[in-house]
């Protein structure tokens, strides 16, 4: 196979991404069935075939180091006695898990987590959707409005929590002061369970709604405008257009937002940790979330074995929740398309 003028230049990656590219080029020689390739051709073949994997490998290597390894190691720790400082002790099998299931504070933390998750993620996604819908209309000073919704996201959560701490003061707080003006009894934000969850959820929502709104807005901008025109011709009003055109069209992004806010909503820590100065989630663990419970076990009671077991339970719990949410939100979108 001396110089083949028809041979594609070995390894022009851009010309074809199919690994069969160079092989095709030698087809004009039928007598020699599997033609032997030159080193360069072979290299180019490997290049085309394998280098995409190599290019994405840094992520997976990183993921292996900072994602998979801790996950596996946490599982290993969770079946041992393991002090924060003393380190590894005896192998105890599933005793840590049993102890957690027997701890009433674990179940209270689960209840709080689900409750705060519902109070935060659901309003968050709905409001973000509405805000994104508004930002998607013809507004003056668009960039100003779009940037404004992101400002809470830039504020450090610890700083925001301090400000909210003053808003939600039980006795001298601003919100109770305002309620007093209209004759409503003060709400015990740091005492009663549901009010404390609402307070924490509102901090979370304040922070994340704008962020989610911008992601949804980006998806909305990609919806072809002619769809709205035809919808308008068919007599659909703005609301109808939003429900029947926008939402089905941004379904993949919706699912992304729902999944990320599920993961975030089940891992709320800072807001709950800083809601009082003790940091254990209230005098009766009214607002102790699972992550806060994990932290208490690991860093206050200095038992990393138990803390690791909680970490694994939380991981499984989030996977289940995310799958349920995926199913629900996928159905919602499909329903809209009918």
């Amino acid at each position: 196979m001396t110089s083949q003028p028809t041979t594609a230049p070995a390894g022009e990656v851009s010309s074809s991404t199919s690994p069969a590219g160079p092989a095709q080029a030698v087809e004009p020689l039928p007598r020699d069935t599997p033609p032997r390739l030159t080193l360069r051709q072979r290299l180019s073949r490997w290049d085309v075939r394998f280098s995409p994997y190599l290019y994405v490998s840094p992520f997976f290597l990183l993921f292996l180091v900072v994602g998979m390894f801790p996950l596996a190691y946490t599982a290993y720790v969770s079946v041992h006695e393991w002090g924060l400082i003393g380190g590894k002790g005896e192998y105890v099998g599933l005793d840590n898990y049993r102890a957690i299931f027997a701890d009433r504070y674990f179940w209270r933390a689960m209840r709080n987590t689900v409750s705060i998750f519902l109070l935060s993620s659901i309003p968050q996604v709905i409001v973000a959707l509405a805000v994104a819908g508004l930002l998607d209309t013809q507004l003056r000073a668009k960039t100003f409005w779009r940037m404004s919704v992101l400002i809470p996201f830039v504020v450090a959560p610890a700083a925001a929590t301090l400000i909210f701490g003053n808003l939600f003061g039980d006795r001298y707080g601003l919100i109770n002061g305002a309620l007093g003006l209209v004759g409503i009894d003060p709400i015990a934000w740091h005492v009663d369970t549901l009010p404390s969850h609402i307070a924490i959820a509102s901090m979370v929502n304040w922070r994340w709604t704008g962020y989610n709104a911008l992601i949804l807005l980006a998806a909305m901008q990609a919806v072809p405008r002619d769809l709205y025109e035809s919808a308008a011709l068919d007599g659909a009003g703005k609301v109808r257009q939003f429900l029947s055109v926008t939402i089905p069209m941004i379904r993949p992004t919706m699912i992304f937002v729902v999944i990320t806010s599920t993961i975030g909503g089940l891992q709320i820590f800072t807001e709950a940790r800083l809601f009082d100065n003790v940091g254990l989630g209230g005098s009766d663990r009214q607002w102790q979330t699972v992550t806060l419970y994990l932290w208490e076990l690991g860093w206050r009671l200095r038992d990393l074995g138990m803390a690791s077991a909680v970490a694994w339970l939380l991981f499984l719990f989030i996977v289940i929740f995310a799958l349920v949410n995926l199913a629900v939100s996928a159905r919602l979108g499909a329903g809209g398309r009918k």
């Binding site: 070995a10 030159t38 360069r40 924060l84 400082i85 005098s283 206050r300 200095r302």
Partner: protein, 442 residues
């Protein structure tokens, strides 16, 4: 890799396949793999900062709240030009402790000197080998005996150099006392705080006349003061947990919760934003105040006139808080760190720290220092705080024994009292759940 058979077969390159393309690609491929390798290695190889380039040794000192060390550290650097000291300050002991334990567990990252709060010291003493022995002839007899004892571990190693102590007096609002028809003069008021019964009885009289103002700032502060007067509150000398079987603890619990129902407590969580706001709203008339609390009151009650401090404490004396300096064994400059800690906790320096932030010295000599004894505080009606706190320190007869679980148990104890304050549980229910919490702590 069968390169050799292909080697001789290599054909001359077709003219339009430029060799640079191919080498560039190969190089790129090599670069990509090297890059991936570097990325993964880079993660493993972080940390390890070098000595300052100017040949100075840099020492880090991690403290919390206010130690009053800013001026002192500058002074030390002037006297020791080859040393550079960097202070790392955190807001509260809790934050500082969480950071400390995280780094202890990681085995790196601690400062050359770490400050430890007195209540956290018993747990630190359990961490064998994590902190170096600071015993030195130069410091023999420097501190009050009980301060040294609480900084020494079971093997007799001196782990912490005492900084300050927290002898308690009672701070009170003389203007509110006047409105309630109580005496306002420091000496006359002291008689009202002679013992807990008189203190609480005066409180009951006070709230009858002033129903919108509570007698003391928080059940947390008051119960802490009472617990600090018990010999073995939560653990016996073998560190066996006795918290729920100790009748004295139950008595403190019953007293504080019954005073709550008598309306003496603000029902506020100490250190919460509401508690801070209560200083500005005539929320309460008295509070237990160790030396380091004076600065906090002055800050929270800025603009409020009438604060004063009485030279008395119910039930004799009481100590609340006070810290230590320790040198972690993981530090690279242990000798230099020990020297700095020794210097900082010397009587002369601690007197200056008192002057800066009212941290009352734990050093015997410093407590007799004329500068300290003459110190007055304009905010507290020009009270001679140096003399008063010094008297209060002498009145401390007993130091409670604190084992490694002390901090966790008192947190649970105060949470139980807070549940009663907040009306979530009756005193009996709160005691039962406290019992369950103590079992959980183990």
């Amino acid at each position: 890799m069968q390169i050799s058979p292909f080697g001789p077969r290599q054909e001359p390159r077709p003219p339009h396949t430029s060799s640079p393309t191919s080498t560039t690609r190969r190089r790129r491929l090599a670069l990509a793999s090297v890059g991936a390798l570097v990325l993964s290695l880079g993660l493993a190889a972080c940390g390890g900062d070098d000595e300052a380039k100017d040949g100075k040794t840099t020492l880090t000192v991690a403290t919390f709240n206010e130690f009053g060390y800013e001026g002192l550290l500058d002074e030390y650097m002037k006297e020791n030009p080859d040393i550079k000291v960097v202070q790392k300050k955190l807001g509260t002991w809790e934050e500082h402790r969480d950071n400390l334990y995280t780094k202890l567990a990681a085995g790196s990252g601690l400062s050359d000197i770490e400050a430890i709060e007195g209540d956290g010291m018993p747990a630190i003493l359990e961490e064998k080998g994590a902190f170096i022995d600071l015993s030195d002839d130069a410091v023999d007899g420097r501190w009050l005996d009980w301060k040294v004892k609480a900084g020494t571990n079971a093997d007799g190693e001196l782990i912490g150099y005492g900084t300050d102590i927290g002898p308690e007096g009672i701070c009170y609002r003389s203007d509110l006392f006047k409105k309630a028809g109580l005496p306002t003069d420091r000496e006359e008021v002291a008689a009202l705080f002679a013992d807990w019964d008189t203190y609480f009885q005066t409180g009951k009289d006070f709230v009858k006349k002033m129903p919108d103002t509570a007698w003391y700032d928080s059940s947390k502060g008051t119960s802490q003061a009472m617990i600090n007067q018990l010999a073995y509150p939560f653990e016996d000398e073998d560190n066996k947990v006795v918290a729920t079987s100790n009748p004295e603890v139950r008595e403190v619990f019953d007293t504080v919760t019954s005073m709550q129902s008598a309306g003496l407590a603000t029902n506020l969580d100490q250190w919460s934003p509401d508690w801070v706001a209560a200083f500005q709203n005539d929320g309460f008339a008295t509070m237990a105040c160790p030396g380091w609390m004076l600065g906090i009151i002055e800050g929270n009650a800025a603009g409020v006139k009438g604060w004063d401090i009485a030279d008395a404490f119910p039930g004799g004396g009481g100590n609340w808080g006070g810290s230590y300096l320790t040198v972690p064994a993981m530090g690279e400059h242990q000798e230099e760190a020990k020297k700095l800690a020794e210097w900082l906790t010397a009587p002369e320096q601690q007197v200056k720290a008192f002057d800066a932030k009212f941290t009352f010295p734990s050093q015997v000599e410093a407590q007799e220092d004329p500068v300290l004894l003459k110190a007055t505080q304009p905010f507290f009606n020009d009270a001679p705080v140096g003399q008063i706190l010094s008297n209060r320190a002498l009145a401390v007869e007993l130091q409670p024994y604190k084992g490694p679980k002390y901090a966790d148990i008192i947190t649970a104890f105060q949470a139980a009292i807070l549940r009663v304050d907040q009306g979530q549980e009756s005193p009996d229910e709160a005691w039962d759940s406290f019992t369950a919490d103590v079992e959980r702590i183990g």
